[in-house]
Symmetry: C2
Subunit: 267 residues, 2 copies
DNA sequence: AAAAATGTTCCGGTAAACGGAATTTCCGGA
DNA sequence: TCCGGAAATTCCGTTTACCGGAACATTTTT
């Protein structure tokens, strides 16, 4: 189940489900029945939604094949979500890290007071530690990547988050304001975050921030593995590898930041 | 006005407007009032829609700044719209062509029986010919890019389109099935489409197909200018430039096509 | 501290969505 | 070419989910 809660506005919830179904379907598109069966909607309802989505350009309908695919407007909206441009830029780095270390590598960005996992790359080591799925959120500070993000926000922000966000960390053990404050301090000192089995005891993770020119974290690279693979000599190598890629990413971001691809406006 | 008709499903129509408003707003996001004022919605209505969109991850809400920005789900959907990957791949080519020729360059893809303009790059020549906006649709065959797309579909498809789509070409002069059939034949023979003022009399355009390995057009590059700039010696150069870029793009597509970026599934 | 602007919630009326069923279109097989 | 089944589309009476004015809360400005 993607997100537990559902439906403040029924139509939006359903439309979103439809779009996700189409997105995860074959590239030639879905037929009406595929949507109805997949989502348990009535034919009439699904049809009405699809037509509505087609009217606004979110899906494209092929008269000849009777199939629905994602439309250009969705692509254009996605391209306008500049905050996530880093996913494209970082993908090669993730792939390199996963290949070199054989472990699982994550990319997270800040989303409000949460860390949002926006990409993941799996290495070929046989024991996999898939703690996070793409799209998952964690309170800032909980997890290596999340901690790296938190530790390199502004001091004021960190203070506020430590103070106010206690509730959203309640379900995790060992993330009281004080404990987390210590972790933040250590992370700032060393330049990287270390999660030694705080969440899942058999595994550990390292996170490093991707900094903007002001030294604020705009993203975090992290790597997770079973604890045996995160011990002394290897962990240092991993920190070095991550830091190097993060540094390179920072430069890519500031370099490419200026010449923001300006797709012509609609509206 | 983006698309003339509106509202099969009111909520979807409104939600789409909201998303577009956010997309074309500042990157720090829009406030509730910005949305209400911009779209003429009531406060309660806009608020409900925004919350619904936030619930499904289409917008992200910052508690601290009270601003709404595009959410990760929209980005993920956009990235899943593989058909439009070509836009990113082609952008450098468009930029090069616009710089070299100083004219306006377009990228179009087939969308049903229409050509859909998916990107545009403006050269610095003082007389600009902005016939197409990004997002605009033209019946297949009407316009240089559109004609290039049509001419390199399968023979059966071309025949059907010539036969059946007369109605959608009615508002354009000189695009009867016979006339268009001739244009198609000429385009197939020469490898490029030429539009010598058929639509707007003072201007002309050249289009070339971007072919897949089977020789089917998946996109078209086109360039438009006032007719004076589209005469004999220069037009040949333009055809050569366009063809070269189109060829390169074809190879990029087939090369990059295999290793499709597989972002992990949500479900 | 008051005032203005913005954000959030409430709630009854009603338009808009719902969905079962009828109709039409499409497609594969004989 | 015709037929039968599956899918797509439309119809329409029912009802629910959305609407939006207004009250309330919060934030920002003066």
């Amino acid at each position: 189940m993607p997100d537990g809660r559902n439906a403040q506005v029924q139509t939006i919830d359903r439309a979103a489900r439809v779009l996700r179904a189409i997105a995860s379907g074959p590239s030639e598109g879905l037929r009406l029945v595929d949507v109805t069966d997949g989502l348990g909607l009535g034919k009439a309802t699904a049809h009405r939604l699809l037509r509505g989505l087609a009217d606004v350009g979110f899906v494209a309908f092929s008269e000849t094949t009777k199939r629905y695919a994602l439309g250009f407007e969705i692509y254009a909206l996605g391209a306008a979500a500049q905050r996530f441009r880093i996913v494209d830029l970082a993908r090669p780095a993730l792939a390199r890290l996963a290949a070199k270390t054989r472990d699982t590598v994550y990319l997270s960005v800040r989303d409000g007071d949460h860390a949002l996992c926006v990409d993941r790359c799996t290495g070929e080591y046989p024991i996999r530690t898939l703690t996070l799925d793409v799209g998952d959120r964690r309170p800032l500070g909980v997890g290596a990547g999340s901690l790296a993000l938190l530790a390199f926000q502004t001091e004021a922000d960190i203070a506020r988050i430590l103070r106010d966000d206690h509730a959203m960390r309640a379900q995790f053990d060992g993330f009281s304001s004080d404990a987390l404050g210590d972790m933040v301090r250590r992370s700032r000192a060393t330049g990287h975050a270390f999660n030694d089995g705080y969440i899942v005891s058999a595994m550990a993770a390292i996170g490093v921030p991707v900094l903007d020119p002001d030294g604020r974290a705009v993203a975090a690279l992290s790597i997770a593995a079973i604890r045996e693979r995160m011990q002394a000599p290897r962990s240092d190598e991993l920190v070095a590898l991550l830091s190097a890629e993060a540094e390179e990413l920072s430069q890519l971001l500031t370099a490419g930041g200026g010449k923001t691809l300006k797709t012509e406006e609609f509206s």
